[in-house]
Amino acid sequence: MKSERNRAPSPDQPQASKTLTVVEPPASRPAAAPVRPGRELPSSVLTPPVPPPPPHLDDYESIIGAAQVEALRFLAADVKGKTVKMVNSTAVGGGVAEMLNRLVPLLSELEVPTHWEVITGGNDFFEVTKAFHNALHGTEYELTKNAQEIFLMYNEQNLQRMQFEEEVVVIHDPQPAALIRAKERSKAKWVWRCHIDLSNPNPSVWEFLRPCIEKYDAAIFSSQSFARQLPIPQYLFYPCIDPLSEKNKELDDSVIQKVCDEFGIDRSRPIVTQVSRFDRLKDPVGVIAAYKLAKKYVDCQLVLAGGGAKDDPEGSVVLQEVKEAAGNDPDIIILDLPPWCALEINAIQRASTLVVQKSLREGFGLTVTEAMWKGKPTIAGAVGGIPNQIIHKLTGVLVHSVEGCAFQIRYLLTHPEFARRIGMNGREQVKENFLMTTNVKRWLLLFRILSGSKPSPIPT
């Protein structure tokens, strides 16, 4: 099938807005024809690239400075040789695995030998833990005796299989939380790293898990608002991005240009972008409405780049809604990208004039972090962890409605100096608080505290 992405639009004839997606056999398409048909993605993105080797600590020096790298080495020297085990439920896919892929080698390079193990379980276990995950986010759920038994049985199986000889054991998320039962036979300090929002959990699931969590020596949450009242110390570790990953590394302008050419994005005109999967909670239709309101006053293109429409039935419905909302506007470019298109997302973010994340609900909102790291003026919904990142009018702009979003698009496109300043501040905010190296520092500080080194609450 021939790609149409390079066709020049006729100046006097409206061109159908661009939707690039993986082309499926016609039979699998929805019966109701989309407003515009899917088009082929460039062949360069159809297969996953070979992942590059993980970076070394010295590679970060050009980003955070020699003094900060030196501080990491000093911190690590105090816990040198301390052994750590990280346990989670998946080796690939998802933010936790992505983070551990970078964290584990960096800690080991700092001579804090860190081992990463993944628990195993049958489909029944992962069905239960998926339901737990949703319930802890506040979804209605009836906790059955059977679900409890499945959860505990697989945790017990993993517990029997695994050794816990390290000095610190870090359990990520609820799935392996009941491994804490091994604490009695280990000398380790046990830490529960909760990556999910527990601000409004389903009470039955939380009360089932709570006795396990209270046995840990410490818990870590991604936001103050995600934490619970617990009798153990609770620490705040913001999620982070890796500035050297494919998604965030610096790119030559030629790479950015090539990606824009492939996707039909015109860099000579303002580009407003939202990167997110096609999910109603990300409000892509609201973004289109805001763009249309703004476009009465300012010229711009809208890029909606995301994924999830292929393997998520709801995602394909939302994509359809997005296409319908976009109508025939040639300046709305909808990209349904496979999950391995990190470099393409990076290039699109870097090509953008503004980045929008108009979420209605959000976890931490790492796409906001990514945009801020690239120095992009960012407009985002004031939900979840986003206000931890965006200080209104200082490191970005917070909005609460379609109209507010539209106004900020207009304002930032017509006040480039203000936009530049909040973009620069946003980058500094990420550099100080949300980079992988800051995360390494937090882990080293925690290991130091757990090993008995008493920190000072105020300067003395």
Binding site: G65, A66, A67, Q68, E70, A71, F74, L75, F221, Q224, S225, A227, Q229, P233, Q234, Y235, L236, A382, P387, I391, H392, K393, L394, T395, M424, N425, E428, Q429, E432, N433, K441, R442, L445, L446, R448, I449, S453, P455, S456, P457, I458, P459, T460
Partner: protein, 225 residues
């Protein structure tokens, strides 16, 4: 024009050991959803929370030149929509205090007075809660230990901004006097009293921390020339 001959600079007797401090954020027990609850928590929270939301937050937001002072002021504006209170809280300069009790007392006083004058604001629900946090601090050495003034300036340019915060902003809580480690050393070890007081007068609320570093380097550089 005859030039005034200045006495040669004294060689410092003591080395200046640049240190840095890193911190881990603990989530506290206190939470405020109204200004009344903020006042109660301000009175009762541990010193480490007051330190975190006033001194420490300046380091976390060191790149902002204006418009950010402390977390209490920021919350009063962004979540409670109380610009008068926000301005009053933002005007509290942490460098006017040598202990946390003083900072706490001033914050409590401002909120108390505001609520007396604006009783309807007392129990109005904030847009989002204020979660009290606290910092666990660890002081670390750095490789920089100058024992001459030129080496001091050279090191000043190379250390992290966390080190600048440690010596210039947090220092008065350690020293228990209205000064900072740089001014202290320059005055006591090199005899540069005017330089020391010029550095002490740098406004941290209208500068980024990088700007503060550059100003210190320039002031000391003038003394060298």
């Amino acid at each position: 024009m005859p030039t005034v001959e200045r006495p040669p600079l004294r060689k410092p007797e003591k080395t200046f050991y640049f240190k840095t401090s890193e911190h881990l954020l603990r989530i506290g027990r206190e939470k405020a959803t109204t200004l009344e609850e903020l006042l109660k928590a301000l009175r009762e929270c541990p010193d480490s929370s007051i330190f975190q939301h006033t001194f420490r937050t300046l380091q976390e937001h060191h790149f902002i030149r204006q418009g950010f002072s402390n977390d209490f002021a920021h919350w009063s504006l962004s979540a409670c929509h109380e610009p008068i209170l926000a301005e009053q809280l933002a005007s509290v300069d942490v460098r006017e205090f040598t202990d946390i009790a003083g900072v706490r007392g001033r914050m409590v006083e401002i909120v108390e007075e505001f609520l007396q004058e604006h009783p309807r604001s007392t129990a109005r629900a904030a847009h989002e809660p204020f979660y009290f946090c606290a910092a666990d601090l660890v002081v670390l050495p750095t490789p920089f230990a100058p024992d001459t003034l030129p080496d001091f300036v050279d090191a000043l340019r190379q250390v992290s901004l966390h080190s600048i915060h440690h010596h210039f902003i947090e220092a008065r809580l350690r020293l228990k006097r209205m000064s900072n480690d740089f001014s202290n050393w320059l005055e006591q070890e090199v005899g540069l009293r005017d330089t020391a007081s010029a550095i002490e007068r740098i406004d941290i609320y209208t500068n980024t921390l990088e700007g503060v570093r550059q100003q210190i380097a320039r002031i000391v550089g003038q003394a060298l020339n």
